[in-house]
Symmetry: C2
DNA sequence: TGACATTAGTCACGATTGGCTACTAATTCG
DNA sequence: CGAATTAGTAGCCAATCGTGACTAATGTCA
């Protein structure tokens, strides 16, 4: 974790790493070395001449093996004052980690289901909420669900991921028909037998060119 | 415009105000007091204890009459180094100004159509592009089109605003049917006669409660 | 004053989409 | 072998959506 510099740093980079654990979204927290809170989002101050993206990547790497398959800036947060660093503002990043990625070793980092996150500093709490909100709302424009799955997955797993993100049950046949029409996945020649029942074919995310959807606008999903 | 402080400021707030002018999106630029570029996005350094939102609002007010009907943070930008301030990072905001709002007086501020924006500092150019991209991509989740129109508008004007944002022609009957189903507007008892042709009824944006769309997912608008 | 141009607004047909039930397929368990 | 279980598909029917053609109300101009 970062060394506390004598001068107040200009800003911090805070990273929200998300994955799916047992049918819930979970966030990676690091044990805080000091301060009232015992756990915190991984964060650091950018180094000299380091871009924000690079700093976010570095922070990811320090907590978990391998890069997140997807990473995006959430925004700058400065209105809730308290933060582990004493910086005025923090720039939040969200990253997605595929299920099945080896868990962080040692007790320094751990996954917490979103329903059971310990108290964070007010600003980090805002960042976490914004990250989850962003991931959920960007689902149909970014391949978010695919980035929460390993490279190969069954269609049932994919559907369950969508159901998790949407908090809504989907119908199997409809889901697969839509998937077919969208040319997003391609079958591999591998199958997985998961205990009882017929084995499932494994697919990989392989979006193909397609004519850019003719359909009109959906005016029905304006939130308020 | 901001006073140049002796110490390098921690960050700047840069505002992208957009409106529609003659069938094009246009951005408000301020004449730069110094530096190579002649025009720049309105920006300033936040004051002591001023939230980012408040600073953005203050900057808006300094350039144009009345608040933007909609304002949202775009993110933090720090990777393109050059910026009018010497700050490490800039936090971008996008705001929408209804058509028909009185133009800024004097030569200090002016609207530039997006197709004809003068050279900006690299970082401000990124902020502008991100703002436009954000407005265009958030259209179906935020009432963006309505915030670019005055409080009362005809359905043809609304459709043209959608066409402008989508860069795509829409069919009148389909558009109105979708609008009907979404319970987004309500008719007023005023009409407007625009030269020749039948007068059009004026509507106002008045979203109503509705059951949260049962439909499944659109897997067909993943961008790539 | 009446024909015409112009813009607003609606209707209804046909094609497509999407939800759903019911089916078949392939495996494990006993 | 048969029951249970999970994967995957077929096809019906209702809802949605693109579209062209229609009616309505105004201004223009001979």
């Amino acid at each position: 974790m970062p060394d506390r510099r004598p001068r107040r740093p200009p800003y911090s980079i805070d990273v929200v790493l998300l994955t799916a654990v047992r049918g819930q979204l979970a966030v990676l927290l690091s044990r805080a070395s000091d301060g009232r809170e015992k756990w915190a989002l991984p964060w650091d101050v950018p180094r000299k001449n380091e871009t924000m993206d690079a700093a976010a990547t570095r922070i990811c790497k320090s907590t978990i093996e391998g890069d997140p398959g997807w990473k995006e800036q959430i925004g700058a947060f400065g209105d809730a004052k308290r933060h582990p660093s004493e910086s005025n503002i923090s720039v939040g990043f969200a990253g997605l980690i595929p299920t099945g990625t080896p868990s962080p070793v040692g007790g320094e980092h751990a996954w917490f289901p979103l329903s059971d996150v310990p108290a964070l500093s007010p600003r980090q709490r805002l960042i976490l909420d914004a990250a989850v909100e962003m991931v959920r709302s960007r689902m149909d424009q970014s391949p978010v669900a695919f980035r929460l799955l390993p490279q190969m997955f069954t269609l049932t797993e994919l559907q369950q991921m969508y159901e998790l993100l949407l908090s809504k049950r989907l119908h199997k046949a409809s889901f697969r028909r839509a998937l077919q029409g969208a040319w997003l996945v391609e079958p591999t020649d591998e199958w997985r037998s998961e205990g009882r029942g017929r084995p499932a074919q494994l697919y990989r995310y392989a979006p193909r060119k397609r004519r850019p959807a003719q359909r009109g606008i959906r005016l029905d999903l304006l939130s308020s």
